[in-house]
Symmetry: C2
Subunit: 334 residues, 2 copies
Amino acid sequence: VGEFELIRQFFMQHQPHPNVVLGNGDDAALLQAAPGHVLAVSTDMLVQGRHFFADVDPYALGHKALAVNLSDMAAMGAKPVAFTLALALDAAQRQPAWLQAFAAGLLDLAQTHGCALVGGDTTAGPFNVCITIMGEVPAAQALKRSAAQVGDDLYVTGDLGRARVALEALRSGWGLHPQHEVLASCRERLERPTPRIQTGLALRGLAHACADVSDGLLADLGHILHASGVSAQLDVDALFHSPACHPQVRALPRHQALTALLAGGDDYELVLTAPAAARAALEALQTQWDVPLTRIGRVLPAQGHGPRCELVNAQGQPFALPAGVELQGFDHFA
Amino acid sequence: VGEFELIRQFFMQHQPHPNVVLGNGDDAALLQAAPGHVLAVSTDMLVQGRHFFADVDPYALGHKALAVNLSDMAAMGAKPVAFTLALALDAAQRQPAWLQAFAAGLLDLAQTHGCALVGGDTTAGPFNVCITIMGEVPAAQALKRSAAQVGDDLYVTGDLGRARVALEALRSGWGLHPQHEVLASCRERLERPTPRIQTGLALRGLAHACADVSDGLLADLGHILHASGVSAQLDVDALFHSPACHPQVRALPRHQALTALLAGGDDYELVLTAPAAARAALEALQTQWDVPLTRIGRVLPAQGHGPRCELVNAQGQPFALPAGVELQGFDHFA
């Protein structure tokens, strides 16, 4: 059985989908958005050694490869519709068992979100996974990075930093090691992130600006601030003592906990701004969710120095960062 | 200047485009198709050693990476709208001069076809280029592979085989070598293919089935035959003595010429079927084009053995293939 046959066998699915006029197998797929909707499009490329380790579990990698793309849809308030999958496969990935597990991880998550695999490309080469995802959103309700307004509250979904802690444990950083007990509760976050699709959809009409936290809170919040031409005040105490900081992260030495919280990558939570008038509605929504939404600051006018994020404590005074905190975001070239 | 800044500098463009509601720089781009149209989506991944040589001219590679995707739009009769670009860059590609030339080759072709770069991803890693392209086409006029009908004529645009001849010369195959005179006229076809966008648009409403010739004529025609459940008769004499066979290809030893014509990859011409009633309209269109459209056979009912392509001579008798012809298509795993 050749690789093309394996790909066909594991990946080709032709389930009816309201947005898919023509699926896999032609020169292109044909998609339609619902009336009044636009198509949101995003692409992510994952390579070995930078986004995952060589010995990664293939099911988890299939899940994560799609999850990071779904997360971009969540951040736009878009409903996932379809995706394309391009793969460069080395010998190790051309084993039927590997491909089958990878496909299962990918397609299980796709099915959860009603997202159809509509096309792809496969070649031999250094292992590489590139997914382009498409979703639909009413044009006026897309959660753009540029939509933050002065006076908005600042929120984050879920909790931050556990993916970074898992990464450090796996590579024996921060005095941790792969057998350390923190890895058990943190590894799932690194390898099987949960895209906040339902949250993103519920935020339509409530939130102003939104981005997903893939590079770290300060880096991704920075994208919102620059796109919107505003500054922000981030209450580090509120963040540190909220459900957005998992007890396992809070228990770390303080400089590590703050590094994970403020600059840990790969969390795939959402950072968003919303007007104060939306507080009650957001509170009400939260009772329906199994994911916390934590208010961590507010949006301010940009001063002469341009958009920046000011870290403050519970008293609104500058937060004194302990030595050893590393605030640069996750850099895929680093 | 970091790589991200270079990427921003060379690739970020924000020209207004009627289909682009939101371009580069957010979690996703927002696209809309014109009323009554659907979005055609296709993805291609290019890796070094398989789709191009390590010393490839970066401008040519930028051109080709987009051209192979545009060719898929042509094959659907779709008008190119936008594309995303994911790049894994090795040290050699992270040089400003390299990136700038690559971007220029890509964006010059994009501009020619009014196709906007709306998103992307960049990482360090073994060099890899993955483009996903989107176009628009009226739903009922898409040129699907499955639309061939018994009695249709079989056509091919342009000429076939020169890309394969260039590839052989570059790797000193077929008794050729990089200094051989054929390379001069054939190299452009391999490195700077011309996607048949205008032709694809003009074929709307005239052609039935269509595919682009990327894997070789017989392989890509085979896709049409299988998708449509029909067979075909291909007049090899007509093909060989037509404008679809460039004099430089015809001048090769006959087994090499036939290999290039029938199974040469990377041509990015179109193979299509159209009803006999469309002959006059296709002839009339041709006078407006600078690319030949050659009738090379016809579509027949599939017999008990399933879809197949029968090679015939000018007298309609089985074509006797000389020894040494290699008919398997281009295989990205081979």
